[in-house]
């Protein structure tokens, strides 16, 4: 008599279903200041509890959890930061990732609790927090960290030397523009964003050495006049918030203000044709469902078709470090 086939392993499902616990404990560790506290050196549970102002039982729970995922190292009764935690989470280097984790803890985690009804309705939930300028600052500080490596990647990927004026459309608080102008002193830049975001960007550029080289203009890129006289246009992490018809409209409007020598850089979570790779890109689709009534992640070849339809021709595509990549286009 044949044995029934053994059932497939549930390990993947268990693993996926419980990953949120590790994420949430990491966010809590950052909020409590665990990695900063260990930035000065190894410490035991009692001393950490006193420094963080939380009960020793809580410290043991979170420190042991961070040890189990590899962000802390246990040495006898003491804990110390792993090299990655010390570099990115202790507030000791410019590569500080805590703003990203704060954004996840304060904004994204609560927002994702709306995911199921959002997908059911097909409409973004009402998230009043996006209307508050201080909260927007938390959001954009997190996005800055998320895009920091891509901004650096762009500096090594695209030849800025022949450009003169950069227009960043929908660039949030200007993280890409800040990186580009910082690395290329001959460039001037314009940030075009919705007024409530320009307010955040204005704070960010105030007192910055770049302030004199940046113009901040508020407006809606689908409705208001776009600034002309720029020979490089950047649209970074905007198109995933829009529907295809909006994207075509935006690309056509950009083409209308682009001179013949201009170039356009579309930085986004471009996927392969099957929308499976890079994996993080397609997971991010949940974020766009929550943040926009129209957003999605799109395959790069679809974007190339939209560009062709609106008078642009793609001349290159480069990875900026997964999940982001850049499509480079010129007027056709």
């Amino acid at each position: 008599m044949n044995q029934p086939p053994s059932p497939p392993s549930p390990a993947l499902i268990k693993d996926l279903a419980t990953r949120f616990m590790a994420s949430k404990l990491l966010f809590a560790a950052v909020e409590l200041g665990l990695f900063e506290a260990l930035g000065a050196g190894a410490s035991g549970c009692e001393a950490l509890a006193e420094r963080l102002g939380v009960p020793p039982r809580s410290v043991a729970m979170i420190a042991d959890a961070m040890t189990s995922v590899g962000l802390l190292v246990r040495e006898g009764d003491a804990y110390r930061n792993s090299p990655a935690a010390d570099f990115y989470l202790a507030g000791k280097t410019p590569a500080d990732m805590r703003p990203l984790l704060r954004m996840f803890e304060r904004l994204e985690y609560p927002a994702w609790q709306h995911l199921t009804p959002t997908l059911r309705r097909g409409l973004a939930p009402e998230l009043n927090e996006a209307m508050d300028t201080d909260t927007l600052a938390v959001f954009h500080a997190g996005i800055d960290v998320f895009t920091m490596s891509a901004a650096r990647g762009l500096l090594g990927t695209y030849e800025f030397a022949g450009r003169r004026r950069v227009l960043d459309v929908g660039g949030g608080n200007g993280s890409f523009l800040r990186a580009i102008l910082g690395a290329h002193p001959h460039l001037e830049g314009t940030l075009f964003e919705l007024p409530h975001v320009i307010e955040v960007a204005t704070r960010g550029f105030a007192g910055s050495p770049l302030q004199g080289r940046v113009t901040l203009i508020d407006g809606d890129a689908l409705v208001d006049d776009l600034p002309a006289d720029h020979d490089l246009i950047i649209v970074a992490n905007v198109l995933h918030l829009l529907a295809p018809e909006h994207i075509v409209r935006l690309l056509a409007r950009l083409r209308a203000v682009a001179g013949e020598g201009s170039e356009l850089l579309l930085i986004d979570l471009w996927t392969d044709a099957t929308r499976v790779d890079p994996p993080l890109a397609i997971l991010m689709a949940g974020e766009f469902a929550i943040r926009s009534n129209f957003g999605d992640v799109y395959p790069a070849d679809r974007a190339a078709a939209w560009l062709a339809e609106t008078g642009w021709s793609v001349f290159d595509r480069r990875s900026l470090g997964p999940p982001l990549s850049v499509l480079m286009a010129r007027p056709s």
């Binding site: 409409l123 973004a124 009402e126 998230l127 009043n128 927090e129 996006a130 209307m131 964003e193 919705l194 007024p195 409530h196 975001v197 508020d218 407006g219 809606d220 689908l222 409705v223 208001d224 918030l241 909006h246 409209r249 943040r291 926009s292 009534n293 129209f294």
Partner: protein
Amino acid sequence: MSQEANEIFQGVARRCGLAAMFAPGTVRRALQQAGIEPAAATVDDYFTILTALMQRISTYLGEQEAKERIREIRSYLKQVRLVGPILAEGASSRGGA
């Protein structure tokens, strides 16, 4: 922005049919275009920008949906005139995004 001005602003933004990432900027832009400072906008000010606001949101929503949203906003603003923004929030129906 005063609490009342903020309540009205958010009441309009929530009803405009756009997600929270776009709605405040869209309403603010419509006010500014009419020369109205959002922090000081009154109910009457919002009535004056309804056509401009409809044009803006119809870019995203299409004309029919935009008209429906503007009808909701008009109804809300009428309630605000009658009972103030806090009571109007409960009295005026709200849907969509």
